[in-house]
């Protein structure tokens, strides 16, 4: 190619002659190095000559082509050959350095050629754009870049990574070094930057080389293309580490601003040093400044994302620690707006809840506590409530499945001492339930309106989500107030009948608070219950003070809790035959009551109540407060010191299973001893016990704190029993019916009126199946029928 002379008509000179001159001016053409000894004047002459012959474009193209050829054939393979093998990081570092140096040197070596070509352009007055670049140097850079990238070997990032990793290590080290001086460097044998022995620390030289290489790459316009990715990934790694370290386990401080500052100072410091060549050279071009800005935006986003991810991983713990972890939640809220991690959060948190909360090993109160914390934290995180709704969906579902949820909620609502729910109750707001008709959105503040997030459930109004408070959310777990009110009623009844204190101020206060939420009508029954207690106190005082009733002449004082049966939850029916003198006493009391309130009488619940006893034994005296059944048992032992369960059962009309349980209490007190199966003996003297002082008065809680009320299950049973008479009637008239038909008929006839009892198909099936098992029904071919008498 070099031998072919341009075919141009020439005036004075021989073509060969001209070609030789051109070759002297541009020795590249002949594959010779550039000679500097030719005088500039001579070169200028040649250039003018080219210009005269209108060959400048051709020559330029030719020379550039030649250089491109050389680049492709020699420079680039040379460059990449350094990338092929490395034994350790340090070697990689050196290879990269050498490669950059060599390619830079070749650029330098071509520089005079370009200068001449530029001159040629000036002389001939040509302006053209080659490869998208105005200047020839630019063109050359494009050539180098393109040919480098066209021959990219597979493993090139490794070496680049080595280079930058080592440099970064040195940097971080020097940064940390400024941070904590007290970490005495004498102890260290190796420099933590370059991992060389302290004496031979190469940090300084590494930094020097690093800056030089960067500068060269910048000059070649290669930094971004060659090392951009590696730098980014290294910085990402660094950010990840930093974020992880800085927010490990501490939720009580906000990290966003410190992280931003860190990014600004430390990370951007590195970037500036890379892009500006060295740290001293503060003055930077506009272009690099812009590149850094862009880089910073990307990195800031990455920082937020990393931080958000870290926080989301910890979100469960954050929620548990709420409100101490408020700053962390606030951070997360800000970050969520900047990143697109909502779905990730939902998924992660749901999984965390499921693995850590929603399994049989967790107590219901704990789940509730976590749920309340979650409600609060997530409401702060997302005021629209959509996040809360989606994330806690499984929790609600799970709680619905647990039997003791309602009880736990109600008891924690009215618990003494600091309880979040009780506080929440005191705040007092009307209860919001889902069932309400969707109200119109606020029209006053329409300018501040925001659409619901995309994951919102469209069937619910955003207002209902925004306003519903914690108690409403808990009640909504079941979706009905009645269940909660009933449970509260049972709980209240239990409390009143276990404490037997006539001081109801506290209960009245809670009742008033609950009324604010659940409405007057729902809690009407409870109000009557409390009034019963209050009235009982008055009646007791009245009967006691009136000498006509002869109550003060009795052996012991008796008081009564007089209840309005209709308003209390059904009592557990138990029988108990009290000692005759007690019965007589209660009879006197009833008489007194009848006199006081004409036309009214009392039905005693002998098994309920509390008795204060003084038991005198040979060696000690006991003061105890026990239940009537306990008192009766020990009273019987007074007349005879050995009883069998069978005998006691007959005399007391109490089933022997119950008796055994109750006797256990006296056994634990050391008063009774089982001498043979089901035969108990009174222990008058207890040598081991008599030595240690016995507390004068012991108020003994019933060992098993049993509910005096029938359980919700039993109550329901009773309600269903109402249906039974209907069903029998139906089947008598219509012979046999399928389940659905029975259900419909019941709906029509039995479920009307104020005391309507709802019964689902499922429940009815269970009920009927049980009747079948009890042989009260026959079931065949999908039809129920009554058995033939």
């Amino acid at each position: 190619m070099a031998a072919v002379a341009p075919v141009v008509s020439l005036h004075e000179q021989h073509p060969d002659d001209l070609w030789n001159k051109i070759c002297i001016a541009f020795p590249v053409i002949a594959n010779e190095p550039l000679m500097q000894e030719y005088l500039e004047e001579q070169v200028l002459n040649v250039l003018e000559l080219i210009c005269q012959h209108q060959l400048s474009t051709f020559i330029e193209d030719y020379v550039v082509d030649k250089i491109q050829h050389i680049t492709m054939q020699k420079i680039v393979p040379d460059f990449w050959s350094k990338f092929c093998k490395r034994e350790n990081e340090m070697q990689g570092f050196e290879s990269f350095r050498d490669a950059v140096y060599s390619v830079y040197n070749s650029l330098i070596s071509f520089c005079p050629v370009f200068e001449r070509l530029e001159k040629l352009r000036n002389i001939s007055g040509i302006h053209r754009v080659v490869n998208g670049e105005n200047t020839l140097l630019g063109t050359f850079k494009v050539i180098i870049r393109s040919s480098l990238l066209s021959q990219l070997p597979l493993n090139h990032p490794k070496i680049t990574e080595d280079f930058y990793r080592i440099s970064f290590k040195v940097f971080c080290n020097s940064d940390n070094y400024v941070g904590d001086q007290d970490d005495s460097p004498e102890d260290m044998v190796h420099c933590s930057g370059c991992e060389q022995e302290i004496g031979q620390c190469q940090c300084q030289s590494i930094i020097l080389v690093f800056h030089e290489v960067n500068q060269k790459l910048i000059e070649l316009d290669l930094l971004e293309r060659l090392a951009g990715e590696v730098i980014t990934s290294l910085i990402h790694l660094r950010i990840e580490n930093h974020v992880e370290e800085s927010c490990k386990g501490s939720f009580d401080t906000s990290h966003i601003s410190t992280l931003e500052k860190w990014l600004d100072n430390v990370v951007m410091g590195w970037l500036r040093r890379i892009f500006n060549g060295s740290s001293e050279n503060v003055k930077s071009e506009k272009k690099t400044e812009e590149a850094i800005k862009k880089f910073k935006q990307k990195l800031a986003h990455f920082l937020y994302e990393t931080y958000t991810r870290t926080r989301i991983e910890q979100l469960f713990n954050i929620i548990i620690e709420y409100p101490d972890s408020q700053p962390a939640v606030e951070d997360l809220r800000i970050c969520l707006q900047k990143t697109d991690l909502r779905p990730y959060l939902t998924q992660k948190l749901q999984r965390a809840l499921e693995t850590r909360l929603l399994h049989p090993g967790v107590n219901t109160p704990d789940i509730l506590t976590a749920y309340v914390a979650a409600i609060r934290a997530l409401r702060q995180l997302d005021s629209s409530g959509v996040l809360l709704e989606t994330v806690t969906q499984p929790v609600r579902q799970y709680l619905r499945w647990r039997d003791d949820t309602v009880r736990c909620v109600v008891s924690s609502l009215t618990e003494e001492g600091p309880s979040e729910l009780a506080d929440e109750l005191v705040r007092g707001e009307a209860l919001q339930l889902d069932e309400g008709v969707p109200s119109d959105e606020d029209t006053e503040n329409w300018e501040a309106w925001n659409p619901d997030p995309v994951d919102a459930d469209p069937s619910k109004t955003s207002k209902s989500r925004r306003t519903s408070d914690i108690i409403s959310m808990l009640v909504n777990v079941y979706g009905s107030k009645e269940l909660f009110v009933n449970e509260y009623r049972t709980l209240l009844a239990d409390r009143l009948l276990s404490q037997f204190s006539y001081n109801t101020e506290k209960e009245i206060r809670y009742l008033e608070l609950l009324k604010l939420r659940f409405g007057e009508s729902q809690l009407h029954y409870c109000e009557v219950m409390l009034k019963d207690v209050y009235d009982s106190k008055r009646i007791n005082a009245h009967l006691d003070s009136d000498p006509n009733f002869n109550l003060d002449k009795q052996q012991f004082p008796a008081t009564a809790m007089i209840l309005s049966a209709q308003f209390w939850p059904p009592f557990k029916e138990e029988t108990l035959e009290l000692p005759s003198f007690v019965k007589e006493h209660l009879q006197t009391y009833t008489k007194a009551f009848e006199t006081l309130k004409g036309n009214r009488t009392l039905c005693w619940k002998p098994h309920l109540g509390s008795v204060t006893l003084e038991i005198e034994l040979k060696d000690r005296k006991l003061n105890l407060t026990v239940s009537p059944i306990h008192a009766t048992i020990i009273w019987h032992f007074q007349s005879k010191n050995q009883w069998t369960v069978e005998e006691l059962s007959q005399i007391m009309h109490v089933p022997s299973t119950v008796l055994r349980r109750k006797i256990a209490f006296w056994q634990s007190q050391g008063l009774l001893r089982e001498i043979s199966t089901d035969t108990f003996l009174l222990v008058e003297e207890n040598p081991s016990r008599s030595k240690c002082p016995v507390p004068a008065e012991m108020v003994c809680e019933d060992e098993e704190s049993e509910s005096a009320m029938a359980s919700a299950h039993d109550q329901r049973e009773e309600e269903l029993q109402v249906f039974w008479s209907y069903i029998v009637g139906m089947l008598t008239n219509l012979d046999s019916m399928p389940l659905e038909r029975i259900h419909q008929m019941l709906k029509m006839f039995a479920s009307q009126g104020p005391t309507a009892v709802e019964c689902s198909l499922q429940e009815l099936r269970h009920f009927l199946d049980r009747k079948v098992r009890e042989h009260k029904l026959l079931f065949s071919g999908g039809f129920y029928r009554l058995p033939k008498p």
């Binding site: 009948l497 037997f500 009407h524 109000e527 009557v528 009034k531 009235d535 052996q555 012991f556 004082p557 008796a558 008081t559 009564a560 809790m561 007089i562 209840l563 309005s564 049966a565 209709q566 308003f567 209390w568 007690v582 006493h585 209660l586 009391y589 009833t590 009551f593 309130k597 036309n599 009214r600 009488t601 009392l602 039905c603 005693w604 619940k605 002998p606 309920l608 109540g609 509390s610 008795v611 204060t612 006893l613 003084e614 038991i615 005198e616 034994l617 040979k618 003061n623 009537p628 008192a631 020990i634 009273w635 032992f637 007074q638 010191n641 009174l682 008058e684």
Partner: protein
């Protein structure tokens, strides 16, 4: 051993001594209260007529007030007179 009862707190439910469970007018339990009342017992007492039928006082008063001419027991249509 000597067991002395220092005090006894019993639990009892009160009820009206009547020949029926429910009020013939409002069909609510006697031991409860009439539909207009909140509290049972003293606040919503029963009254007996000479015909031996009894009702919530509020129920029978309402009934009697609604009768223009002669006041009769809603159960047996005899003239209503309060039992002394």
């Amino acid at each position: 051993m000597k067991v002395t009862i220092k005090s006894w707190t019993g639990v009892a439910t009160w009820r009206w001594v009547a020949n029926d469970d429910n009020c013939g007018i409002c069909r609510m339990a006697f031991d409860g209260c009439c539909p207009d009342c909140k509290l049972p017992g003293d606040d919503c007492p029963l009254v007996w007529g000479q015909c031996s039928h009894c009702f919530h006082i509020h129920c029978i008063m309402k009934w009697l007030n609604s009768q223009q001419v002669n006041h009769q027991c809603p159960m047996c249509r005899q003239d209503w007179k309060f039992k002394e």
